[in-house]
Symmetry: D2
Subunit: 460 residues, 4 copies
């Protein structure tokens, strides 16, 4: 069996709903967050506004663990925002859970946000010098401080948010809930997804369309990069001062993060993965008996490879669906090779075969080594590895948990050398130039900085 | 999104290990039970024998929830048995968890068992009249009583077990641990699987080979129907007095219960499901654009159907992997159709297509109705349903949780009528006569009573 | 501050009620057990009979921790029995919690019992040889086995109980609940208390009268030693075949175990403690400024000493009421003297004073050493220790957790030597001959075996 | 049995230690808070400074419930502050637990505080207008904001604290921990106690001396009203700019709140209660057979009454020590009188007696009604009630949870009328003029505003 531990991680997902004509907003948020659970499994929370009074329930744990019937009953209100969180280093504690609620001079405010500010430390320093005090280590608290201060100076919450956004750098798809308004914001490059939907007379914002499907809502459109959408009893209103038409969606949303049934900025995620497999088959054909994918994220690309190459699609692994947060691994250090737990090779399918194995990425390389070792042990004659993304070389400042450059195996090894190191018979990565094709785009409307080092916020 | 609630359920899985030369037995049992978790998610337990002293830890919950590092540390011993349990009606309480430990006149005894006795009530009555007292409602307690009584009369535990087995009717794959011996028993028709493996100098028994793989052990052979295998410091010994060569393995182990990477009685489970799909394609071809499977158990047969028919294999659904035991469903009664949670249709793949949808069985029919409704709503032009098992008509007395005859939709509806009821464009079930082919058998070496009403223990 | 850890422990308390005209039986049991909590803090449980169906809720923990509103709501029924438990060595686990429920040939049975059988091992052996199987290490299971066997042979539950009682040796105040009857039994020497009360038309059994007070019930009378009282829809009935008129109530119930507001076998516990203090003052006067008691059990005797001697009653210690089961003691091993936690000396009352300190017993002596050290540190000029019980020399076979003879300090030291060891200025114990006076008895109607070694069940 | 629910409540207790030469600071705080548990049972917390890094563990619950061995192990550091909390209306949630930790421009800060600001809302408003943002509803957050802002302007933490204190009105005994300093502050009237102690080379601050005793520390002196004491590696330093020599300690600390073994501002609490009883006996003698106290806080005054009057001191009630936070009260609404749970009358002591019953205060009067009813039911011939404090008429703004004026029974009833209402044969309260004598003071060095309405902060 094989470990799957060294994957990249997304940092968050958000959900918001204004209106209770079809469902109780807290219930809608519950289902929505559940559908977004793949974007963050560490903590979750839901805040509601009940006749102007904000309430919140949040804790460490999965959506199904944190919320009881009683919790949802208590969360009355005509709107709600919710959040699921995966956290990087050090910040894994209940204080950092979102939504983040504060009181300021003009009332209350709740924030749920996905992404990473690149100037958070700078802003934190400025605020502290001005007397601000911090109780968490989150970007959300920094943003809340600025909104709170702006709000003392300007006439409306949307204006305070608009002023705030001008000071923020980096990636953020963010929901702000005041007692009577629900405001959605997407940074001017649109690194992280954010979609608008509708259910009856209620409006919904969500990181991905799968959260709309979860409550039977219809997708209206994606929030534009730089756009601020304000929903209140008066209706829906959009502020586009900050929209430049430039788009830099994180390409890894398509390759790995998003759920395959989601549609992001108009592009079907599943289809983009099928296409990645097709491109690999065209660019790096292999002489093999079967094509298999590494579950779950490699399966779609493997199917695309099979279709383009005509090589039979087969099942290489059985995945154990029961690995939860509390799973311990007794004696594992001594016996890594044999007692890993998430994947088991389906030996009869592999024995004596020349295999194309498709996966979504190679980060540290250790997982791939183990998987290939297991395939060879099961009797694979050859293992040809095809990766549906380019080689990763650069850190991400926009909310993906990419390890240090030191840890990225592609910074130490050429593809040839890496092929030998992981024990593969051939190895190929999707070409950087092919990324456009994944999303049917002629221009580079996405961020590929982790592959190229071209950070979109540093460009002209 | 679509509910997946009305599936059949297996009742249990067992694991046993004698020897600690490679791994601590409790740790091995932990990994083994984790791999068998699909056989029972309600409760689990591990008992060890430490220099003749038996200890046990068991509780309601998944393997990953019940056992802490500390629990496993405390479970010292040179052998262990473990159990995962799914329970039918009424018996869902901590008293009924297994392994079941007792003290008797000659010492201690632990039992873990998978299956259902058909004469449990009769035996319980006889024992009670003889003064026996019961603290649980399990078959295990009945068996333990008989062993305990036999043990006062005969010279060895294996003899007591052998005498006991003669009185038991029905299905049982059972592990008995005395302070110094580990004994495996399989009923004379072999309804439930039980396999023998080896890791270093340690012997292992498990319900399925995937549990052997989980600890890096090698499969030696399946326990024969009627066989008793005794392992002690003196080595391994087999009692075959009760072996008649007849085999009646539950065919649903291949169709649905077992993990696809397991090999049961020498037959690969995944391969038998691929074959079921092939047979359906040959027997009931369809004019369609794509073939999809209902996750997870319909996927293999769908792939077989695609291969035999040449129709493109596609992905019809995204499965949410985070539905756990604590998931609640607020407001669901009002909004069943839209807020179900486990499956979401991958609309772009379905829209405008003629679809073959493969699933493993139809029990009550309600799940199938919802799935087809969702496919049609996503724009499927036609939905041709192919079921990789025959129609179910009869209850199971051997450990499968089949509902009453009343609830089985095939007892009320012809296939044609059912096709209209579920809203399919065509519907076909695997032929009963084809079941032999699933396991490459010329004779009927399996139990198909749920399809035919021919209960193997009532024959000749 | 001073530790109070080395006290004697009572093993159990029982409560039963037949009838629901005034209160729900489970609620009554809850309040009753709460009032009996001092008799056992390790585990507790309540079983009810609902139209002949027995149900039970039991777990480790205090009454206030184990039972939720929901638990009590679920425990419907027209009668209930309950139990609080303190366990000696090894048996502290959920399996051993009471009440103990079993199924036998004629139905169901629940037992709650207080006391210790002296022939439990012998009975267990006989039963095992006859094929009985044991799942716990409790006397209750032994008793249940015998009742279950007797019940197969005789026409009524009360007859089965009566036959069973004849085989039991030792101490037991026991409640047996069958689907339609509530039966109370007290061993023929009446070691442990058991009282009958009434609330409206409901009958109640309880270890102490304070449990009757807790629900507003009236005491009718104590169950006689050897008596069996049967309550059913037909009314109350008494079987006295086994009553010999001999009484051997544990004298420590008066000295320490029972709550001071209880009345046991007609004698007020508080009054007997006041009297013990008076006797000490008369027998062993002291020249002192104040009399103080060690909380809580020494306070009453201290008051008695003060009244008889005319020496001023004062407060020597403040007790911390918040020490619970989960209290940990970091760093205590290194710093025993200073960081003990339950008691703090009220220094201003002690400074410069000659003090009479009254406590209920000296077991190992270590607690007394610490207390005297603390009083001297607080400035006591002299400390005269008066113990309201004789010196303890013998083990108890009847349900009191007295340590081994080795550990009893009075087996190694004369009173004079012990006085020097504990650092007291004088030390005296109540005379064995005075015990009669505590309960206003002319004969020895109590067990004093722990002081004298005269075990009442070995006499005559 | 009798309820004790309608008592006054103290709001908090604090503990701080600088130095780890004798004990680990977190362990010392654990023992110290445990001794202060009577000052707040709702939540508790400990923060440490480890080489300048602040860490905290806090949660709802008792000290013994919140902290595990593992928690204390993780709380390394050379100093610690801790807090126990009782909260009034609305604020009972984990966010409001203390100590309160923040990051500001110059580093980190932890606060634990006891008392109530009277200008908190005003300060909160000013801060909010200046852009401050609030995450809790506590005074502590307001104070932290001001300190954080002051700290950006001035050169040291002690100066920031000194500047802050000038803006605060009301009652506060407060500990501030920066990475390298421990600072204690007491408001200029000294409403709440705060004492300085020493253990080896470590300094300790605590609300009461009983917390010093708990770790074997010596009391040095009380912090003066208005004093700021700063402890760092450089030693101990005192800032007395704000000390005016005026003292207004809350007199209820002596009457009821503090533990009897504590010494507050040099006065022994137990002795002051004995004296209150003596004064009552002198001012309001009674013709009675016995004097009893209502446990626990009425016992000392009852003893004083007995000594001054010569009437025999007796025990009127048995208290159940096991009532915890989770105790439920099934069916109580219907049966209030009989199934209350904390106190049971010791009937034999009461029957036929003329009784003086001493209690510390009458707030709503309902408790007293129930107690007298129970005494009369137990056969008391007469019940003469003596209260060791004056009648309560006014709210407290300084941290005592006194109900509204409406709810205070003394605002609706003369003493005579109240006597009849509660069913007593006579009733008397301590004279306001006698309060000075409780603490051996000639001047009014205490706050008695709840009796007189003379709020010390509004005078001259």
């Amino acid at each position: 069996m094989i470990s799957l531990s060294s994957k990249l991680h997304e940092e968050c997902g958000v959900f918001g709903i204004f209106g209770d004509d079809v469902m109780k907003p807290a219930s809608a948020a519950y289902y929505g967050l559940f559908a977004l659970q793949h974007r963050g499994q560490e903590s979750c929370g839901i805040a509601v506004s009940d006749m102007g009074v904000l309430k919140c329930r949040k804790d460490m744990g999965l959506v199904g663990e944190v919320f009881s019937d009683k919790d949802l009953e208590a969360l009355n209100g005509h709107m709600a925002i919710g959040h699921v969180r995966y956290s990087t280093m050090g910040g894994s504690c209940v204080e950092n859970c979102q939504p983040f609620l504060v009181r300021h001079s003009k009332g209350r405010l709740a924030i749920a946000h996905n992404g990473n500010l690149t100037n958070a430390e700078e802003l934190r320093g400025e605020l502290a010098l001005d007397g601000a005090m911090f109780q968490t280590t989150t970007d959300s608290e920094v943003i809340a401080h600025i909104i709170a201060r702006e709000r003392t100076r300007c006439g409306s919450m949307e204006q305070a948010v608009a002023n705030t956004v001008k000071r923020l750098k980096g990636a953020f798809s963010m929901l702000v809930m005041s007692p009577r308004k629900l405001i959605a914001v997407r940074d001017s490059l649109g690194f992280r997804p954010l979609v608008l939907g509708r259910l009856g007379n209620s409006y919904i914002f969500a990181s991905e369309t799968c959260a709309l499907d979860a409550i039977g809502a219809q997708r209206i459109r994606d929030i534009e990069p730089g756009e601020i959408v304000v929903i209140s009893a008066e209706g829906i209103n959009s502020i586009r001062d900050n929209c430049s038409g430039v788009r830099k969606i994180c390409i890894f949303e398509y390759i790995y993060f998003a759920r395959p049934d989601s549609v992001i900025d108009g592009i079907e995620v599943h289809a983009s993965r099928i296409k990645a497999g097709r491109l690999l088959a065209q660019q790096y054909p292999a002489n093999a008996d079967i094509v298999i994918g590494v579950p779950d994220s490699g399966l779609d690309a493997a199917l695309g490879f099979s279709r383009a190459s005509g090589i039979e699609y087969s099942v290489g692994f059985t995945r154990n669906n029961y690995v939860g947060r509390t799973f311990i691994k007794p004696e594992q250090s001594q016996r890594r090779a044999s007692v890993d737990i998430k994947l088991n090779v389906l030996t009869p399918n592999i024995r004596g075969k020349k295999v194309v194995m498709v996966d979504d990425s190679i980060v540290r390389g250790s997982t791939t080594v183990n998987i290939i070792k297991a395939l060879k042990k099961a009797g694979a004659k050859e293992v040809h590895v095809r990766i549906s993304s380019p080689t990763i070389h650069w850190p991400c400042y926009f909310g993906t948990d990419i390890p240090t450059r030191e840890e990225l195996t592609s910074n130490h090894n050429s593809v040839d050398r890496l092929c030998r190191l992981i024990g593969a018979d051939s190895l190929a990565f999707l070409k950087v130039e092919s990324l456009c094709e994944l999303i049917d785009s002629k221009e580079k409307t996405f961020c590929d900085a982790c592959f190229t080092g071209n950070y979109p916020d540093r460009q002209g």
